[in-house]
C-alpha cells in the first residue's frame, strides 16, 4: 500500500492504495465517486474519462501512483453550486444522454474539447470525441449538444460564465 494524495473536484484526498491500482477503482471505491464508469478496461471506450492536470485521461489506464499530487475533475465536479454545467444542460436538452453510461466520460471529453476549441467545427467535434464510444445515440445528439455549447451558438448562456465556474485544472 502506498499513500497517495490528490485533489479531486476541489477537495484534497489522501488514500492508501496499491501503487498500481487503477485510478478508476480508487475514484469509485475509495472516493465513492461512482459517476466515473468502466466500459472496457482497456482504454478503448472512454467511459472512465476524467480530467487529470487539465488533460483528458482514461482512468482505467492510469496507475494511481501517477495521480499522486494531481488535480482531478470527475463528472461529480462539473456541476457547481447546485447549477448544472452548460454542457450538462445542453446534453439534457438535446437528448445527448440515452442510457447514460457513456455520458459522464462524454461530458468530460466535451469539456476538454471546448477548452481547446471554444467554438469547435463539426470536424473538431467528431475528432475530439472519437475516444469516447456511445452505443445508443449514433452521436448525432451529442454533436448537437456540443455544438450548442460553442461560443458561437450557445444562445443566452455564454460559455464564459459557466464553463469556468469550476476550474478543472
Amino acid at each position: 500500500m502506498t499513500q497517495i494524495s490528490f485533489v479531486v473536484n476541489g477537495e484534497k484526498k489522501t488514500v492508501d492504495a496499491p501503487p498500481m491500482a487503477r485510478l478508476l477503482d480508487v475514484l469509485r471505491e475509495h472516493c465513492h465517486l461512482t459517476g466515473t464508469k468502466e466500459g472496457c478496461g482497456e482504454g478503448e471506450c472512454g467511459s472512465c474519462s476524467v480530467m487529470m492536470n487539465g488533460e483528458l485521461v482514461n482512468s482505467c489506464l492510469v496507475p494511481v501512483l501517477q495521480a499522486d499530487g494531481a488535480t482531478l475533475c470527475t463528472i461529480e465536479g462539473m456541476a457547481h453550486d447546485g447549477q448544472m454545467h452548460l454542457i450538462q444542460k445542453k446534453f439534457l436538452e438535446c437528448g445527448a444522454a440515452q442510457c447514460g453510461i457513456c455520458t459522464p466520460g462524454m461530458i468530460l471529453a466535451a469539456h476538454h474539447l471546448l477548452e481547446k476549441y471554444p467554438a469547435p467545427t463539426m470536424e473538431q467535434i467528431r475528432e475530439g470525441l472519437a475516444g469516447n464510444l456511445c452505443r445508443c445515440t449514433g452521436y448525432q445528439r451529442i454533436f448537437d449538444a456540443v455544438e450548442k455549447c460553442g461560443t458561437g451558438t450557445a444562445g443566452t448562456a455564454k460559455r464564459g460564465d459557466e464553463i469556468d465556474a469550476f476550474e478543472c485544472e
Binding site: 464508469k37 466500459g39 478496461g41 482497456e42 444522454a97 447514460g100 445528439r141
Partner: protein
C-alpha cells in the same frame, strides 16, 4: 390554475425523466451499488467447445477455504435456466456444449483475488469434435441437439408457388449471409443477488425483463412468486443483450449467495461479456424468385436459416420474426418461406434489436437489387412495381389495413438524399476517381409488438396509482435502458389525465411492486404498454368522476380528488389489461394470420465512398425516412433512429465477430470495432406520421426498425460504387481487397462461399 395543456405533452419533447441524474453522474448502475457484507462472484468457464468434463481440481496454492465454490452439485433442484424450453444448462456438470460454458462459480470478499482463483481451477476434458456452422449442423454427421440439430422450423406459404416458375421471364437466385453481431452495450452484464431462507431470493440487475428473471429464479429454486424479487436498476444499454442473459448471470449470483449466505455481486468485464454472452444470430438466406419481363414478382421461395448456438434460448422467436419479415414490404402472389434455427457449438445466440428481421431483410433488399439488374430496370423501379399496398395481403395472409404509401417514403428519401443527382454525378466521377462513390437504398417494414399470438399470451397488465404526495405513479415492468420508456409513459399518463408532465412519476421496476406489463422488447412499449397506460388513466379518471370530480376539472381539483379518494379508501390504484385489437388474429397451427397489430414502414438511403487504395469503405451521408405512427417524443424518436442506424452501419462494414471453433477470437473493444464519432455520417431522420388506432395516441413501434435498413442500403451502395457484389455482411476492407484483386486476403479468415445466382453478380 387550469389542468395541464395536453397539446404540450404528447408530440413534444419534455426532458428525459432520469436525465438530470444521468448528466450529473448520479444515476446508479449495478456496479455503483454496494451491500453490507457483500462478496464478489466470478465464473470458471469451459475452454473447449464440445466434450465432457473428466475432473475438476482445485490446486493447493489457492486458499480455497476463503472462497465459496459452487458447482452443479450445489443446484438445489433441476440444472437449467428457464427461457422458453428448459434445455439451457445452468452449470455444466458432465457435458460441454460450447466454449465459455459456466462450470464453477467462485465468490470472495475481495474481487481482486478472483482472477487468479478462476485461472487456477483445473478442468480436465475429453474433447469431441464440434459443429460450428449452419452447414455442418444441417449435415447432421454429428447430432448435438435433439434428433436433427434443429431448434425450430417454420413453413410460411401463400398461393401456389410451384406453378409460378413456368411463366417466369426470369428466375433469379441468390445466397446472402450475415455475421454475428455483439450488442456492445457500454455497461457489461451485472447483478447483485441476495438469498435468504426466510425471504427467498432478490436480484438487482442491469436488465430489460424483470419477469423473465423472476420466472427463471422461481424455477431454479422452486420458490413461489412472492419469494422471488427481481429489481431493475439503471441499465447502461441493452439492445436485446439484457433480455435473456440476466436470467443466467442472475441465477449464478443467486446460487453463490445461497451458499455464501450473503449478497453477491457478479459484474462481467468486457472480455468475459464478449466471450460468454449472446450475440445476433448469424444467418444464411437463399432466394429463388420468379419475375415477369417487367420485373413484377410472380412468386418466390426463401430458405432462411439461423445459427442458434448451443441451447435453444430465444432462437425460435427470433426465427419467427425473421421468417415473417423475409418477404419484405412487397406484394407476393405466391411465396414459400421455409425457416430453421440450427444448433451449433457456439455460445447461444440471442436477442439483438431487430430480432431476426435485420438478417432476412438484408437478404431481401440485396436480392431486389440483383433482380433489378437481371431484368434491366433501376432498383427503384423494381421496388415501385412491387410495393405492397393498403388492401393487399402479406405473406401470412394479413390484410394490410394501415394507410401504407411506400412510394411516398421513397420519394421523400430520394429528395432528401439527392439520390438521382448524386447517382448521375458519381457515374461521371467514378470513371477517373480512385475513390468510388455510390448511392444505395433499402425498403422495409418492421412489425411492432410480439409476433403472432404473443401479445395475447402475455396479456400484459399496467397499473397507475395516485400517491399520498400528490403524484400519479406508473406501475409497469417495462424498463428504461436509454430508449425513453419512463419519459413516454409519463407523457401518455399526463396527457390522458390532463396533468403536467412532472405530476407523473414512474415506479422502479420491481416484481414485488409492479404488475407484469411484459418484457421490454419487440418495439412494443410505446404501442402496447403505452396504450395500457392510457386506458389505466381513463379508468382512474372514471373512478374519480364517478366520485364527483367534475368533467372540466383543474389540475388542483384532480389532485385533491385523488387525495380524498386515498383518504377514504386507503389507496387509488387502477389496473388495465391487454386486449387484442378486434380484427387481429393469428393461427399458431397454420402459421398464418395477423402477424403484428401494426407495422412501421421505411426507406433508407446510404451514400458510400470506397477507397480503391485502402479498400476502406466510408458512409458519407445517411437519410432515414419512416412512418412509425404518431411520434410521441420527437427528440427521443430521432435518437432511436440515429442510434439504430449507427449500429446498422457497424453491422454492414465494421463489426465482425471472428470465430475460432466457437470462440470469439476478438473479444475486446480493441479489435471488435464499432463506429466512433469520427466514423458516422450525418444521419438525417424524417418521420411521416399516420396514427395507429390501437396504439397510444397513435404510436406504433420504433426501437428495432432502424436496425433493418442500413446494412442492405450500404452494400447496395457499395455495388453501385464499385460494381462488386457483396452478399455477406459485414464487409471488411479485407473483403473489398479480395474482391478487387481476386486474392484471398488471409488463410485465417473463413472462406466466403461465392453466391450462386443467375445473371447478376459482378457487373
Amino acid at each position: 390554475m387550469a389542468a395541464g395543456n395536453p397539446e404540450k405533452i404528447v408530440g413534444h419533447s419534455p426532458q428525459r425523466k432520469e436525465g438530470p441524474d444521468k448528466v450529473l453522474g448520479r444515476a446508479r448502475y449495478i456496479d455503483d451499488y454496494e451491500m453490507p457484507g457483500m462478496w464478489h462472484g466470478a465464473t470458471v468457464r469451459s475452454t473447449i467447445a464440445r466434450g465432457s468434463i473428466k475432473s475438476i481440481n482445485f490446486p493447493k496454492h489457492i486458499p480455497w477455504d476463503e472462497f465459496v465454490v459452487v458447482t452443479a452439485a450445489d443446484i438445489p433442484f433441476d440444472n437449467y435456466i428457464h427461457h422458453i424450453l428448459n434445455d439451457h444448462t445452468c452449470l455444466a456438470c458432465r457435458e460441454i456444449k460450447h466454449p465459455a460454458e459456466p462450470i464453477v462459480l467462485l465468490a470472495h470478499p475481495d474481487k481482486q483475488r478472483l482472477h487468479a482463483a478462476v485461472e487456477a481451477v483445473q478442468i480436465e476434458y475429453e474433447k469431441l469434435p464440434g459443429v460450428f456452422t449452419i452447414e455442418e449442423s444441417e449435415k447432421m454427421d454429428t447430432i448435438i441437439w435433439g434428433e436433427d440439430n434443429t431448434f425450430k422450423s417454420y413453413l410460411m406459404e401463400k398461393g401456389d408457388v410451384d406453378s409460378v416458375w413456368k411463366d417466369a421471364a426470369y428466375i433469379v437466385e441468390g445466397e446472402y449471409r450475415t455475421g454475428a453481431q455483439e450488442q456492445l452495450y457500454i455497461e457489461n452484464n451485472g447483478v447483485i443477488a441476495e438469498y435468504s431462507e426466510t425471504d427467498g431470493v432478490t436480484v438487482w440487475a442491469s436488465m430489460q425483463c424483470p419477469f423473465y428473471l423472476h420466472k427463471a429464479l422461481m424455477e431454479l429454486f422452486h420458490l413461489p412468486e412472492e419469494k422471488v424479487r427481481a429489481i431493475q436498476v439503471e441499465t447502461g444499454g441493452a439492445f436485446g443483450g439484457k433480455e435473456d442473459y440476466p436470467s443466467v448471470i442472475g441465477s449464478h449470483a443467486a446460487l453463490l449467495s445461497m451458499k455464501a449466505k450473503r449478497p453477491v455481486k457478479m459484474m462481467y468485464d468486457r472480455m468475459e461479456d464478449l466471450a460468454a454472452t449472446t450475440k445476433r444470430h448469424p444467418s444464411r438466406t437463399r432466394h429463388r424468385t420468379a419475375v415477369d419481363k417487367d420485373g413484377k414478382l410472380l412468386g418466390g421461395e426463401i430458405e432462411f436459416a439461423i445459427d442458434g448456438g448451443a441451447y435453444s434460448t430465444l432462437s425460435q422467436v427470433v426465427l419467427s420474426r425473421g421468417t415473417i419479415h423475409a418477404p419484405g414490404p412487397y406484394f407476393w402472389p405466391a411465396i414459400r418461406v421455409s425457416a430453421k434455427a440450427m444448433a451449433t457449438n457456439c455460445p447461444p445466440h440471442g436477442a439483438f434489436r431487430g430480432f431476426g428481421a435485420p438478417q432476412s431483410i438484408f437478404a431481401m433488399e440485396r436480392h431486389m437489387d440483383h433482380i433489378a439488374h437481371v431484368v434491366g430496370i433501376s432498383p427503384e423501379e423494381m421496388r415501385r412495381r412491387n410495393f405492397i399496398k393498403t388492401g393487399e395481403t402479406t405473406a401470412t395472409g394479413q390484410l394490410v389495413r394501415d394507410d401504407v404509401d411506400m412510394q411516398k417514403l421513397m420519394d421523400k428519401a430520394f429528395a432528401e438524399s439527392h439520390y438521382y443527382a448524386k447517382r448521375k454525378e458519381f457515374a461521371k466521377t467514378n470513371r477517373t476517381s480512385v475513390v468510388k462513390r455510390g448511392m444505395g437504398f433499402a425498403c422495409f417494414f418492421h412489425g411492432a409488438g410480439f409476433t403472432g399470438s404473443g401479445e395475447r399470451y402475455l396479456a400484459s397488465i399496467v397499473g397507475l396509482e395516485a400517491t399520498p404526495e400528490g403524484k400519479v405513479r406508473v406501475l409497469v415492468s417495462s424498463t428504461e435502458f436509454g430508449q425513453g420508456t419512463n419519459t413516454i409513459l409519463s407523457q401518455i399518463a399526463a396527457e390522458a389525465l390532463r396533468l403536467e408532465y412532472d405530476d407523473v412519476i414512474v415506479q422502479q421496476p420491481d416484481t414485488s411492486k409492479v404488475p407484469n406489463s411484459g418484457p421490454t422488447v419487440a418495439s412494443r412499449t410505446a404501442m402496447v404498454v403505452g396504450k395500457l397506460v392510457h386506458s389505466a388513466a381513463l379508468g382512474m379518471l372514471k373512478t374519480l368522476t364517478d366520485a364527483g370530480l367534475r368533467e372540466d376539472y383543474t389540475r388542483e381539483e384532480f389532485l385533491a380528488a385523488c387525495a380524498a379518494h386515498i383518504h377514504k379508501h386507503g389507496a387509488l390504484k387502477v389496473l388495465s389489461q391487454y386486449e387484442a385489437p378486434p380484427n387481429i388474429f393469428w393461427d399458431d397451427q397454420l402459421y398464418r394470420g395477423d402477424a403484428y397489430p401494426a407495422y412501421a414502414w421505411a426507406v433508407y438511403v446510404a451514400e458510400v465512398a470506397v477507397d480503391t487504395r485502402t479498400y476502406f469503405t466510408e458512409v458519407k451521408d445517411f437519410v432515414a425516412v419512416q412512418e412509425v405512427g404518431r411520434v410521441l417524443h420527437p427528440v427521443l424518436a430521432k435518437g432511436q433512429i440515429e442510434g439504430g442506424v449507427a449500429q446498422g452501419i457497424g453491422y454492414a462494414i465494421y463489426e465482425k465477430v471472428v470465430w475460432k471453433e466457437g470462440v470469439m477470437a476478438n473479444n475486446q473493444m480493441t479489435n471488435y470495432i464499432m463506429a466512433t464519432s469520427a466514423d458516422v455520417p450525418a444521419i438525417r431522420v424524417f418521420f411521416e406520421e399516420v396514427p395507429f388506432q390501437y396504439g397510444a395516441y397513435g404510436a406504433k413501434g420504433i426501437g428495432e426498425l432502424p436496425m433493418d435498413g442500413p446494412a442492405p442500403a450500404i452494400l447496395n451502395a457499395m455495388e453501385e460504387a464499385t460494381g462488386l457484389s457483396f452478399n455477406e455482411c459485414p464487409v471488411m476492407p479485407e473483403d473489398v481487397f479480395e474482391a478487387m484483386t481476386g486474392a484471398p486476403h488471409s488463410e485465417e479468415q473463413p472462406v466466403i462461399t461465392e453466391p450462386a445466382f443467375t445473371g447478376a453478380g459482378r457487373r
